[in-house]
């Protein structure tokens, strides 16, 4: 955790995020992310022994269910109104498998 984030890691994380970066951008983000992570590393000073994690501020909230009944849903035409490309009642995307 102490080591600074390197360019290889920035490229790896960008690939995971489906973002492509120029060489200049890799250098810039590497420096900025390293500075931010240096600051964030002060979290190590906090003693969290035996402290449970909080993922959500509403403590009482457990699973929430809606009644299982048929209701009106968005018509296909409305759901597709923003589609960059469509075919019949489907969203159309470039080929996934050759």
């Amino acid at each position: 955790m102490k080591q600074r984030i390197d360019k290889k890691t920035v490229r790896h994380v960008a690939r995971l995020s489906r973002i492509s970066l120029s060489g200049k951008e890799v250098a810039l983000y590497q420096k900025q992310l390293a500075d931010i992570l240096d600051y964030i590393n002060q979290l190590n000073k906090a003693d969290t022994t035996g402290t449970p994690p909080t993922s959500h501020p509403l403590e009482s909230l457990k699973n929430v269910f809606r009644e299982d009944r048929v209701r009106k849903s968005l018509p296909a035409e409305k759901a597709l109104q923003n589609a960059p490309e469509r075919k019949d009642d489907f969203f159309s995307v470039p080929k996934i498998i050759e």
């Binding site: 979290l43 960059p84 996934i96």
Partner: protein
């Protein structure tokens, strides 16, 4: 008393926008004819509701049916939601007139309203300055009188900080108080929709309309909603106000801001409140904790913007290539930075060291507040460590930009409600804001405290010259 009709009120709002919005860039989308038609319809259809005909601006990350909703991002260019967010449905039912979409930092990532793909919004008090962010368009529109109210969203201070920097009232309700159905998600464990208004009375009235349980948002709390206007009481007797020493760090808060806060404490004291010193010992970790949790959740929430179903799509031969090209062209610098940071802290090998650690520290921060509220009813702090800064001043230094939210972030981590009220001006004439924080679901005490302060001061009556 002179009476004016709803179409006249709406027209006044539209005329004001026409007169000053070029200078401010607060409203980024407006269909004048549609708004006027809606105003005519409201006059005929809605009877006897106090809020009917009030023009309200909507932050660009809240879905308004068939109107562009883009989060001020190129990646959502042309997106028109097929449905209304729950808050919009409630506003329309109460007779509000939605007047345009308000500018914001892209996907609400920012504290200055500069990362918008539509260009920065300017502060009505000084056009060289930022209005705060991310709900900077909403705050500037209200401060400039373009609209009387606006909705924003607050993930780390995005309602309260711009309200402070523009000299108006802004509230982040308790996590769960207001439905987020139709709010485009940034960080789902932190986001909350909140009102930006010219005064505390309007804040209470707007909160009444937007609050309440919604089965479309599983994180909205199934609790009764009080009439918040009943808390508009000018009386601070028996009110214990805690002042946390960690919020006044040596060198970490502007002298003029500190002075305004100090004077404000005296106003509350003479209104009957008791001021007590308190400690929130884990405050120093809040910003770090937030900058793990918020980007982590954001990187996950923003995975949906890939060009498949809506918004921008860049041409490519295969799907992965299309996704990559679309996201690379569609997201701005700060959005990319946060996606990279969030993906990094969630990736294997770093999850435990960063994300899990941050969630544990979040518990410590939350417990600090629970302890504090055993000895006080409400907590008083500055909303932001400085008044508005210059456009361009911090845009290339992300960390110093992040520090602008250092006093507002802890409330989001703990899920508690907070309000910012105008409490003074700097020598150069920029507004200063004061923040009150209260227990979960105790917005009533916030409103009472804020109203008492407001009614004993004149800061909210001053308007910018435009």
């Amino acid at each position: 008393m002179k009476q004016i009709s709803i179409p006249d009120t709406t027209k006044a709002s539209l005329d004001r926008i026409a007169a000053v919005n070029k200078k401010l860039n607060a409203i980024i989308y407006l269909d004048r004819e549609k708004v006027l038609k809606e105003a005519e319809g409201t006059r005929r259809n809605v009877g006897g509701i106090a809020t009917r005909g009030i023009p309200i601006a909507i932050k660009d990350n809240i879905c308004v049916k068939d109107e562009p909703t883009t989060c001020a991002s190129r990646i959502l260019k042309g997106f028109k939601p097929p449905y209304d967010a729950t808050v919009i449905r409630k506003l329309k039912n109460a007779g509000f007139i939605t007047v345009g979409k308000a500018n914001m930092d892209e996907f609400a990532f920012g504290s200055s309203c500069e990362t918008s793909c539509y260009g920065p919004t300017r502060n009505p008090w000084n056009l060289e300055m930022i209005p705060g962010g991310s709900s900077g368009g909403s705050a500037a529109a209200v401060a400039a009188g373009e609209v009387s109210m606006a909705l924003g969203s607050d993930t780390g201070g995005s309602v309260r900080q711009p309200a402070a920097l523009c000299g108006i009232v802004g509230m982040k309700p308790t996590y769960g108080r207001v439905s987020r159905y139709g709010l485009i998600a940034f960080a789902s464990s932190l986001d909350q929709i909140g009102p930006l208004t010219a005064n505390v009375t309007d804040c209470a009235a707007l909160l009444n309309v937007i609050s309440g349980h919604d089965e479309m948002d599983s994180t909205s709390a199934d609790l009764p909603v009080p009439d918040f206007t009943k808390s508009l009481v000018k009386n601070a007797k028996k009110l214990k106000i805690g002042v946390p020493k960690e919020y006044f760090p040596e060198g970490g808060i502007d002298k003029e801001v500190e002075k305004a806060i100090s004077k404000s404490k005296d106003v509350l004291k003479s209104s009957g409140a008791e001021i007590v010193d308190i400690s929130l010992p884990n405050t120093e970790y809040a910003l770090s904790c937030y900058y793990i949790i918020a980007p982590a959740e954001a990187s996950s929430n923003l995975a949906r913007f890939d060009g498949d179903q809506y918004g921008l799509r860049e041409d490519a031969k295969g799907t992965i290539e299309m996704h990559t090209k679309t996201r690379t062209a569609g997201f701005g610098d700060e959005a990319k930075r946060r996606i990279l940071l969030g993906t990094y802290s969630l990736s294997s090998g770093y999850y435990k060291a960063y994300y899990l650690k941050a969630m544990k520290v979040r518990t410590l921060i939350k417990n600090d507040f629970l302890q504090a509220f055993k000895v006080c009813d409400v907590i008083l702090t500055a909303t932001s460590p400085t008044a508005a800064f210059k456009i361009g001043e911090k845009i290339n230094d992300p960390l110093s930009m992040y520090l602008s939210d250092i006093f507002t972030i802890p409330a989001n981590l703990a899920g508690i409600p907070g309000i910012s009220v105008p409490c003074g001006f700097t020598k150069s004439g920029l507004p200063v804001g004061m923040q009150f924080l209260a227990k979960p679901f105790d917005e009533e005490t916030l409103i009472r405290t804020a109203y008492t302060f407001e009614q004993n001061t004149d800061f909210h009556k001053k308007k910018p010259n435009l």
